[in-house]
Symmetry: D2
Subunit: 490 residues, 4 copies
């Protein structure tokens, strides 16, 4: 497979978080739309830090694109680059990485993907993951399609190319009816900006209004940055077409009960976004309240693991009455990996990002609130730092249930064996982390914090919670064939 | 004057904060000392983001140096560069900018400065500002010295070169007895690492121990990152010489009552540092407590202006009982300036960095806690964002007294006319910012938070608080001559 | 169409030479083949300076590729890049630019092109031009192929993808039977290196042997650089397959009388190459001899226009007895365009590259020997430089007939109207250039120098000489439709 | 000593040529003078390829400078850089490297050097070498001067700083009276452009006129590139001051018989320059004529070793009647070092630069004309290439006498032991190179070609020919002390 070297920014915690693979953003109907797309992608950077791309269309210059490794701020802020992306119709994409490539993405894998068809050009940007991509790719290649990337999302472009429908939106529907899995797709033709969500609505997608134009975005926080008005979410199963004629809506797929991803509330989405009608920050604060109710403990301080544990820690403090404090300080200039000078310094990686507020912690019983535990490697290091600084006791409170199953719908999860909760009970994990106590919020507690007062309805859950429950709403065909779920099958 | 173009990272708030001009760090007695210095400078990056430099000495390769514009993480993490800095004796410097140059620094102005003398080479890194530099420079040039930079700190190197003392430490004493103003200096000879603080101890400097070696640093947080033990502060007026023979201490200057900078507690130092025997975080939290006592107000939420207002906001919430909340979310990927697409979007600069948590703020009476008000430009924009998001009322509480006077001891302050508090009363400022209320902590309240229970002793204050009081402990000779203090002189 | 900005090196003479569009090079059966390909492409750099690409295959790492703008020496010499191209089977390509793009090539247009088929991957590198590419592209798109470049050569990859043959070599034959025009193609599968020339053999391609492996190259000079043995030319219409089993030869196309490009002898090929069994240097020297016979003139010095006029100038001097001299000195550090300081300096472009040897030229009658005249702009400037330096007379002798027709077989020629010889007689050109005399070698003289003692056989010429005669051996279908030959059609 | 990594371009022949260490160029009295300086330095690039620097002065912006590693064309062609060098008074320098540093120069060593004095700023650029620099440096340091580079030329700036004269030109005279060795210096004050040559006039320096302004340059070829008129050489021992008042001339040093460097005629200067009133090209052609008279041989072809052997080969052919031919072709895209693929390819370095014209050479007796033999390594490789290509015999004719002594006046020569001619007789060298014959032009022949019809006057030679004769016109004090001449002292 064609690949090339690229700079790779690695953060010490990167291997111990689930990572959203993508953010998408599109604007139609305002001049120099690509500049707005750059700003939108910047606000969505937390959804994908590896690379980004923007396509823009202009009647005079046609479709133009730019793809770059690295942060939006480091690439799409240069006038010399942005001038190559003229037009009032533009879409963009930030990505983390594909499941297939091992830490090395070719620039060809960076979306949006583009195809020149007899009906004109079309670009697409995809957030999610297709569970039948491998079978589709094989079939398309045997029929003469040439793939340029290792990305599953490229199938969509080839399916469009081979559709016999007479308009691009109809061809896109045709194509998306063939794929399985999770997708929030933004597409762009010469005159239209199109947004589609799969029938389950696993990944988010929202509609906004900016002056006379329209905006599609993974999250509302990216509408705020450009001053766009939040209109509504694109519904699960809905296709929205924005053009000079306004908005058209249709439902091209078979109806299904929505199952949006619950981990978006726990970690992926930014706290200032509104998701499913709820403040993400407030949901996280309420998880802290639930945790304090479910798993109280006597202590002197409640400290967040920055920054993602902060809202739940505030909630925990408010419910428990134990003072909230910044026991761990984050270095805001975190970046590339430094050369670690000698063996004598263990855990340098974590220290580059975090430092314990020693004077505060010394002699205290500390409750640490984190959003999730994936491999547990970071939790161990943080516990050590806190104890090294003289804490009397460390209690972990985790703002999500144990993460025990991989996600196949657009999230980068380690192999199941690497997930701490896949092989250990809560007590075994506590023992492994060597902490005074360790408690996860329950699935019911999490659902309550998300606004489902009655907790999780086992017969028909309101969210996709497969990473906690192992109940996959779409059967991951290719993945089962490839043995990714071996352990689960036992 | 020789100068060259350089990349310049500008943050939207940069013109509305006082900026520390420097951080210094040195290590002796451990292998590959420059790698430790890089880590230390990274932890001190908040003290100077414009450029950084490292010098290292090794018997085989002599003195080597590297100076770079930009963040430590982007330069001093490359093996190809670090390999050019071998040796077990190394010092480094991060800088913001000199008062002289207008947003444009030559790489020649980046410290450490180096001189090859008949007694061997010597490098120095200086945090502070010399108030008689201009007169010294004129005199030295007339006697045949050739200046390579526009930096005042270079005077020290030339004074060393012209001293008739027979050792480099004695020559350094000679040189520093000639200069006036504030200085925390780290110097390096082939076999010694030297730290000196001026007699008032305006800028901080601490001593640490790492294995068999010694460390000097502007702040303790940089000891933590490399796992060094914090031994003690270098005393005001003290010179410490670290070498294979251990530590020697002497007091080369005329004794004076110490006047360390109080703004280090308010804003400059990192919250996880220990300064003057106190936790910076805890001091800031206590300022919030003082503020809540001095200036209470009925409201629904206490929100920090991130990140520097956070500890005081926590203290204010704890004292007042009003819930603490993250009403403003900071984008952690902030970087270069984006191309602002159209006129229709005002305040893009602030939005790139901050976003209001709209769902939380709507309809609420909000207390915003910030560390200081300099020009007031940012405060206005934040207030607008909060009101746009639907807040019912906005109350500002400021964790420092009004900043009404420029600093001449190593801090970049705007001209006095640009300081909001230099021309307006508190009520005029409230009116200007268009907020429901605005209160600053009193000087006495600030001193109490800093541990002086009796408040400020007017006859003999424990700190340099010239930026608040206009009382300058060292007469800024050159500056008065140049009219910088015109207004103050009235 | 997708495009991106790129650095563009412009030479002052670039707009006044015909430019070969490509060089191709491939190696199989030796370790780290890509390093040899880099060297081969470096030796072929004169055939294309805009960009280069290399693909390499290795059983463990699959197909890997790198494409870069700029010289081979500036890109494919870095260990970090070459390490990404492991394997013992590799092909490469240097290119000038396509007729379609206006001085701006996307990196996607840089060959080799690659396709992943159900039969495995295949890369191709193409020297030449397809005269029916536009029609083919339209047809392929309508059937669902997605083009990634604006290059005509990409058609070949899609035709391979859609062929029903059961091996890649058979599919390549299938594909090449569909295309018209000139092609020397190198292709690479996992186990084979394939070379094909069109039935007329317009563009060159040679076979070499290196240790146990095989080499294909546009010219023999690139065999020399890696120490490979020159075996023979690939025959017009021949396909050669090199693999672990040795060499297989076949003739997949309808037989035709060969018509290799005569301009390769005049200018494109390097003088140290052997082409059609003849030394290119010797042919050029003989053109000078022919010129001296056909167009003698009394003069003091024979000077080449460096470097391409040198061999003919030597021949002219030897035949005429007039001393050969370096009247014009070339700056060997020629590169990017300098900022031209003021209006007062005309012709800076030429002066950057050439300088007149003033002391030598002064007062002399000078014969200038150049390889060709395209637009005549450079000839005028050189004449002015020579006269400014005090020459008594300037006589031009051109080592090719008047260039009056565009080439459609892989050479970048200006529109016909821009060719000086398309609109002027020899005498009009002499008048236009303001020189004492101007003579071109005759077509018969050129053929004689090329070894056809009887001159050009009008009924059945031994070479493609369409640029001089307007007789196109393959009808340029698309081009006539597009009006490129409007004038010719008159 | 302070140093830093830098890119280093190495050519395969670099270690087998003597290398001029510098070229200097200055312009006063024309707008945007730095652009002209960039062009002039480009024309002098053959005198130093490692690095270049330009200083420009403008009343508004003061003195500005830029120093860069690499070619002039790659650095001083960017508008963004050239805009930082405004003004109508500018000087520049290209350098090869200092004798002291081992293939690694710090950017601080790149000239021009600059000093800010009480009389105003002054920049200098120096071509040559000071034989008492080491002693001067020690003395200056002991008196408090701080050196910023490892370059000997920096002494001049410090001597200016310490002079008590009341004008900068007088201070420069003062300074230059203290130094020994060879120097052609260009200096620049705010209002003056100054050129000085040492009393022997070892290194060249010429004066030109451009519109209302003045130009100083190492060679006349750099006047041509900007269209400046060649006025005359700066005389040995002369100081010329160009300003708005025109030209002033003075002779500050003790008178001496001039001894300009004869190797400038042999190799250093460009063939299109006029040196000492003679065409460099014509002198080299005449050396070939002398060689053909002194050392005739029967052969089929006379071939130059490109490019420096070309004029002498033309002369040899003209005198001998043996046809001149390009037996060796040079790759004009020569650049960085490629990765050499395997052991099987010997001499790749040479092949990257040169290729034998095999078809021409085969079976022929070949006379190779080269400018000089230093270590002989390249000569051996070229001989092998020629024989590998099938030549019957190889005869070397060298256009200079045997190079047997190091140069201490600004030329980079290997240690004496490495000079082939220092340890071998002509016959031993012939045997070592394994060629049919080897002949060097005699010193008398060389003097005749340089216009001294009577040959070399042993009592009082017209040139410095120490590299051939070992007779040093200035005693190299430091070098003898350091043992550089050990062998010579025997």
């Amino acid at each position: 497979m064609l690949s090339q070297t690229k700079p790779f920014l690695s953060h010490p915690f990167d291997d111990d978080k689930l990572k959203e693979e993508c953010g998408v953003f599109g604007v139609i109907g305002v001049q120099d739309a690509a500049n707005f797309v750059a700003l939108g992608l910047h606000a969505l950077q937390h959804r994908g830090q590896e690379a980004g791309g923007i396509v823009a269309y202009d009647a005079e210059h046609g479709f133009n694109s730019a793809r770059r490794f690295g942060y939006v701020r480091d690439n799409f802020t240069k006038a010399s680059l942005m001038e190559t992306l003229p037009g009032s119709n533009s879409i963009g994409h930030v990505r983390y990485s594909t499941s297939g490539s091992k830490g090395q993405t070719a620039i060809r894998d960076v979306q949006p993907f583009f195809g020149e068809f007899s009906l004109g050009g079309c670009a697409i940007a995809h957030n999610g993951n297709l569970t039948n991509a491998e079978s589709l790719r094989k079939e398309l290649i045997s029929r003469g399609s040439i793939f340029q990337s290792s990305s599953d999302s490229e199938c969509i472009i080839h399916l469009i190319a081979r559709s016999y429908q007479s308009t691009l939106p109809e061809r896109l529907k045709d194509a998306l009816r063939r794929v399985e899995g999770a997708f929030s797709v933004i597409a762009q033709t010469r005159t239209k900006l199109i947004g589609v969500r799969d029938a389950l609505g696993v990944r988010p997608l929202v509609l906004g209004k900016l002056a006379d134009g329209w905006v599609l975005s993974s999250e509302t926080c990216a509408l705020d940055i450009i001053g766009a008005e939040f209109i509504r979410e694109v519904e699960p199963g809905e296709m929205i077409i924005a053009s000079a004629n306004g908005i058209e809506s249709s439902y091209p797929f078979e109806k299904a009960k929505p199952r949006p991803c619950i981990f978006e509330h726990v970690y992926f989405s930014r706290p200032d976004s509104i998701l499913g009608g709820q403040s993400v920050y407030e949901t996280r604060r309420r998880i802290g309240v639930e945790l304090a109710k479910e798993a109280p403990v006597e202590a002197d301080l409640v400290c967040p693991v920055p920054d993602s544990g902060t809202p739940a820690a505030i909630g925990f403090s408010q419910e428990s009455g134990i003072p909230y404090a910044m026991g761990i300080i984050r270095n805001q200039y975190m970046g590339r990996t430094f050369i670690e000078p000698t063996e004598q310094i263990r855990n340098m990686g974590v220290r580059l990002k975090l430092n314990v507020n020693r004077a505060l912690i010394k002699g205290k019983r500390v409750i640490l609130v984190d959003d999730s535990v994936v491999r547990g490697t970071t939790s161990r290091k943080i516990k050590e730092m806190i104890l090294d600084a003289g804490a009397a006791e460390v209690h972990f409170r985790i703002a999500s249930p144990p993460t025990a199953w991989p996600c196949f719908y657009g999230v980068d999860t380690p192999q199941r064996e690497k997930l701490l909760a896949a092989t250990m009970s809560e007590e075994e994990m506590r023992h492994h982390l060597e902490v005074a106590s360790l408690k996860f919020v329950t699935l019911d507690g999490l659902y309550r914090a998300c606004g489902v007062e009655t907790g999780r309805d086992k017969a028909s859950p309101a969210y996709c919670d497969a990473c906690f429950s192992g109940e996959y709403p779409v059967k991951p065909v290719d993945q089962i064939e490839n043995g990714f779920l071996m352990k689960a099958a036992e």
